[in-house]
């Protein structure tokens, strides 16, 4: 392979570094109306009355929008396949506000100053209601967060709003109770994970204008432009054909932009007034009024026999979706489906629980998508079990974990929102990942700990798996067009959000067309101009959209060869092509790609060669990894220094090894953030205290000492050039690896995230 799996620079790095116009707000019309939202100061309240008489008449104020301006059409903001597995439980604006930061009304005016002023002049009378803030007491609480009648599920997801349940799920293979009773060793532990924030550096941003065909053009910093178009159409009853969504460069998403945020209000304003409008979330709004990761409680029971065989896993989980149920069921299912198959030799496995509503900021999609929560619980529990059995946790894992050509019955039972798809692990080098990782961290010398005067150094590890798209649901497509002078346009609905998918997809096309990256010009994504793609989520772009690009490139190559055969007057089978020239070995007939493209464009039997291909996965081959952490803990204050993180990853072929490494490095640091740094604090009334970057702390470059990320040789037959996904897998291991390292250092087990020095102190003192 010449382009794939070789060093290729990002195709867009230079222009981005030079600050060229690229991101959503760079394209806002200069005279855009400013849309701002008045946000609820109460965790739960009914709006009794709104007095906006002064504000409305202020010079420069265009309109004040309240729930009375909108038809009651419930929808979900989650950007997912349709029909969505999330409840339709949200209105553009509602009479009820359900968390501090929820939308009360919107003010629209000619500039920020006047809009701010107007917001200050509006008087809202609330009937303050008692909130449900403790997710462990939400189910069947007498307080109902969603009493309204119109809300509904699209198909059975276990939606029971009268019990504060957004969704529920349960599955059991074998008989867990019986199997556990037969085990020689059983451990049970309860784990808690926090509402991590995405902290993509570009806040949620949207702007809109009407074009001369009277269509609405929306620029949105989104991961899912096609889903945005559909949801806007449903929520505002604008015909789909009248909406164009353009996704420019996106400044990071991590799942946070797999949903609509300001799009509905801005689209409404522009559609209604004909004027351009825009909205940029403040950082506080990004924290308080968009999404977080779903906090969870996970009760994990493991049973093993005296030969060190893991026999049973029981996971009972509870997830807090906050005030609205975006991604509630699917995140929850991933907690089981992309975690529990790691130990596929068990006789019985059970995964069951509810996703409940509370009066907190809603939770939504976030890199890892449930897997990081489940992985923390399972991989901590495995170490607890090994401690009890007095066996080496690495030996135990190697004996019980998934291996190549094996499978797990979970794959068939659990999908995302629906049943799953059976599959054999055609590529799984997890054993190699573990061995290599042990060497790279120096496990044998360092496990479990090395003490010095004031400090203890220790190591810990965890293994993980993810998926590559959602089989039979996620569709990606690509259009490739041959231009005169022999270069190509590649149009994809796949959504570059900073992860490098434009570069990776370009490489796939260039490889198949045997050309250089520079000869393939990519454009993503625009609902008018690029073919459908579900968007950037579920670790699907390289695998699903990449396969679509590969198919399109193959098909275009065939068409070019047919044209060459015609021009050279030879049989198609006799045409050779090397990316630059078409020739016939026998007759010495030859035409260059440049000449061919010019000829069919300008001079003879002119035609446009263009192919669109689509791909839907028939399985979701998991990438695997082993993560190892070395830490140093202060013996007196328990301050933790993360010295080194080793990641050994099996993601099949790395289409772009540097960008793949970047995905893993970035995910590791985000995972370490969840594991150690990113504490989420609420005030008693449910207000998020950690609602800006002065109070919510993500790792800085001084906090990250050393990362070693390597890939093992692996080839996934079904992936483009052997690739699987790599976007999410990196985030899963840090919480459990750190918890295990802390245990190895001090003998204390921290079961809630983040693992802070103060928590260790409290645990030791106890």
């Amino acid at each position: 392979m010449k382009v794939v799996n070789n060093k290729t620079k990002s195709i867009d790095g230079l222009g981005i570094m030079k600050g060229r116009k690229a991101y959503t707000d760079d394209y806002a019309e200069k005279d855009s109306l400013i849309v701002k939202v008045l946000r609820s100061p109460h965790p739960f309240a009914r709006i009794v009355s709104i007095d906006d008489s002064v504000a409305r008449n202020l010079e420069g104020i265009e309109m004040v929008l309240t729930h009375k301006d909108f038809k009651r059409i419930p929808f979900t903001r989650a950007g997912q396949g349709y029909p969505e597995p999330s409840p339709h439980d949200k209105f553009v604006l509602d009479e009820y506000v359900r968390y501090i930061g929820d939308e009360v009304l919107a003010v629209v005016g000619i500039n920020e100053t006047v809009v701010e002023k107007a917001l200050g002049l509006i008087k809202v009378e609330y009937e303050v209601l008692e909130p449900v803030l403790d997710f462990e007491n939400a189910k069947d609480n007498e307080i109902l967060i969603h009493p309204e009648e119109e809300i509904h599920e699209m198909f059975d997801i276990g939606f029971k709003p009268k019990r504060n349940i957004a969704a529920s799920y349960g599955m059991e293979i074998g008989d867990v109770k019986k199997t556990l009773e037969s085990c020689d060793y059983v451990i049970k532990e309860t784990f808690y994970t926090q509402a991590q924030a995405h902290v993509m550096l570009e806040p949620h941003t949207v702007n809109a204008r009407m074009d001369y065909q009277n269509r609405i053009i929306i620029y949105s910093a989104t991961q899912t432009p096609f889903h945005v178009r559909r949801i806007i159409s449903q929520g505002l009853e604008i015909p789909l054909s009248k909406i164009r969504v353009i996704k420019p460069r996106v400044g990071g998403g991590f799942g946070g932009k797999q949903a609509i945020h300001g799009e509905m209000l801005v689209a409404y304003v522009t559609y209604k007034t004909g004027k351009s409008a825009k909205m940029i979330y403040t950082r506080k709004e990004v924290f308080e009024s968009s999404y977080s990761r779903h906090p969870m409680r996970l009760e994990m029971t493991l049973g093993a026999d005296k030969n060190g065989v893991l026999k049973a896993i029981n996971c009972e989980a509870l997830s807090d979706t906050g005030a609205y149920g975006e991604h509630a069921l699917t995140v929850f299912m991933v907690t089981g489906s992309k975690v529990l198959p790691l130990y596929n030799k068990v006789e019985a496995v059970r995964f069951v629980g509810d996703i409940v509503y509370t009066n907190h900021t809603p939770a939504g999609a976030f890199r890892g998508y449930g897997a990081i929560q489940g992985n923390f619980a399972l991989e901590s529990a495995v170490d607890i079990l090994c401690q009890k059995m007095n066996v080496n946790p690495i030996d135990f894992r190697k004996k019980n974990m998934m291996k190549e050509k094996e499978t797990s019955p979970i794959f068939e039972i659990m999908g995302e929102g629906t049943a799953g798809t059976a599959m054999i692990m055609e590529s799984c080098k997890l054993d190699e990942c573990v061995d290599k990782g042990m060497d790279l961290i120096g496990w044998k010398e360092k496990y479990p700990r090395v003490e010095t005067k004031d400090k203890i150094k220790s190591v810990g590890m965890a293994i993980a798996m993810q998926g590559s798209g959602i089989p039979y649901i996620d569709m990606g497509s690509a259009t490739i067009k041959l231009n005169d002078d022999g270069f190509y346009n590649l149009m994809v609905g796949a959504t570059e959000i900073g992860q490098g998918s434009d570069t990776v997809l370009t490489q796939i096309a260039a490889e198949e067309l045997m050309t250089e990256v520079e000869k393939v010009v990519i454009y993503s994504s625009d609902t008018d101009l690029t073919p459908f793609d579900v968007g950037a989520y579920a670790s699907s772009t390289t695998y699903v959209s990449g396969n679509a690009v590969l198919k399109a490139a193959k098909e275009l190559k065939n068409q070019m060869i047919i044209e060459a055969a015609r021009i050279l007057s030879i049989d198609v089978e006799r045409v050779n092509f090397d990316g630059k020239e078409f020739w016939d070995e026998e007759s010495d007939k030859m035409i260059s790609l440049v000449d061919l493209s010019n000829q069919i464009t300008y001079s003879h039997e002119q035609k446009q060669l263009q192919v669109t291909s689509s791909y839907v996965g028939h399985k979701s081959p998991p990438p695997f990894m082993a993560g190892f952490v070395e830490i140093e803990i202060d013996k007196e204050t328990f301050e933790i220094d993360i010295l080194h993180y080793v990641s050994v990853v099996d993601c099949g072929t790395t289409i772009n090894p540097m960008l793949a490494k970047g995905q893993v490095d970035g995910a590791i640091v985000q995972g370490l953030g969840m594991a150690h740094f990113e504490d989420v604090k609420y005030a008693k009334n449910g207000k998020l205290i950690t609602n800006d970057l002065l109070n919510y702390k993500i790792p800085t470059r001084l906090d990250i000492k050393k990362l070693t990320t390597v890939f093992v040789d692996s080839y996934e037959e079904s992936g483009p050039f052997g690739a699987k996904s790599v976007g999410e897998i990196g985030i899963d291991t840090p919480p459990a690896a750190l918890a295990n390292a802390v245990f190895n250092a001090l003998g204390v087990r921290i079961t809630s995230l983040p693992i802070t020095s103060e928590k260790i102190f409290r645990e030791i003192r106890r």
């Binding site: 007196e636 204050t637 301050e639 950690t690 702390k697 993500i698």
Partner: protein, 263 residues
């Protein structure tokens, strides 16, 4: 934030008069925190034209203009010789370089921020604040004043001294505010300040006094030091840490700091 007018006085008198003329007139220092600390201002008074951005080294003291950015203090050679570079150590851990390029020493003092890493250091260095109207006030007295005076801070004076210094900040990340900070200067006698308790920095006077009573310290003395400091320094809870954890931090770093400065 609302600002009706912006005034750039040409003299300190003019600035002072403007400040007194209206209760809603405010002085802007570096401005790093005005978004957080100011909501409504009638006239915002800038000291930018008053030549208050300087670090002067005299024979026995340094004088630092109140509008001097923290970054200038951090990289000043002379100040770096003072008490083992304690100023640079404290400032170097405040947010990022770009903030330290705008935040001024005057703003850091006048803000009386509870999370300040610098106030404790100024206290252990016996800093004197020179005000336009009130004259010289020690930083300790200034911190103990119930209200921030309506006055213009012109400069900060730091005595030169040959002393050892220790500064420790404990925080979640390198950009975070302190869970606790601790500054020690030792020059025959001890000066110890604890900040971000979470309340504003205080001197541990009884602890200093106890320490100053010894010619030579041993570990048993240090245990007593910890006991006294826990009695006199009031620690509490906030979102960054509990009282109990702060106690642990103070105990540990007080001992470590003392051991280091008497080495």
């Amino acid at each position: 934030m609302e600002i009706k007018e912006y005034l750039k006085p040409k003299s300190i008198e003019e600035a002072y008069e403007a400040l007194l003329s209206n209760i809603n007139n405010k002085i802007i220092g570096g401005g790093a925190w005005i978004k957080i600390s100011l909501k409504k201002v009638d006239t915002l008074i800038s000291l930018d034209d008053l030549k208050l951005n300087y670090i002067k080294e005299e024979n026995d003291f340094f004088e630092i203009g109140s509008m001097t950015p923290l970054r200038d203090l951090e990289i000043n050679k002379g100040l770096n010789d003072l008490a083992g570079g304690i100023i640079s150590k404290a400032i170097g851990n405040i947010m990022g370089v770009s903030i330290r390029n705008i935040a001024t020493i005057g703003g850091s003092v006048m803000g009386k921020f509870a999370f300040s890493d610098l106030l404790g250091v100024l206290m252990v260095l016996d800093a004197e604040l020179i005000f336009y109207n009130s004259g010289v006030i020690s930083v300790e007295d200034f911190i103990n004043m119930p209200k921030i005076p309506k006055d213009i801070l012109l400069s900060i004076r730091l005595k030169k001294q040959t002393a050892k210094g220790y500064f420790k900040k404990v925080a979640t990340t390198h950009l975070d505010f302190s869970i606790l900070n601790l500054a020690i200067v030792y020059n025959e006698r001890f000066k110890i300040a604890i900040g971000s308790r979470p309340n504003i920095a205080v001197l541990a006077k009884r602890t200093e006094e106890y320490l100053n009573g010894f010619k030579k310290l041993d570990e048993a003395n240090l245990d007593e030091v910890v006991k006294i400091s826990l009695e006199e320094v009031k620690l509490g809870d906030n979102s960054r840490g509990s009282k109990e954890y702060r106690e642990l931090l103070m105990k540990t770093y007080l001992k470590r700091g003392i051991r280091e400065v008497i080495k």
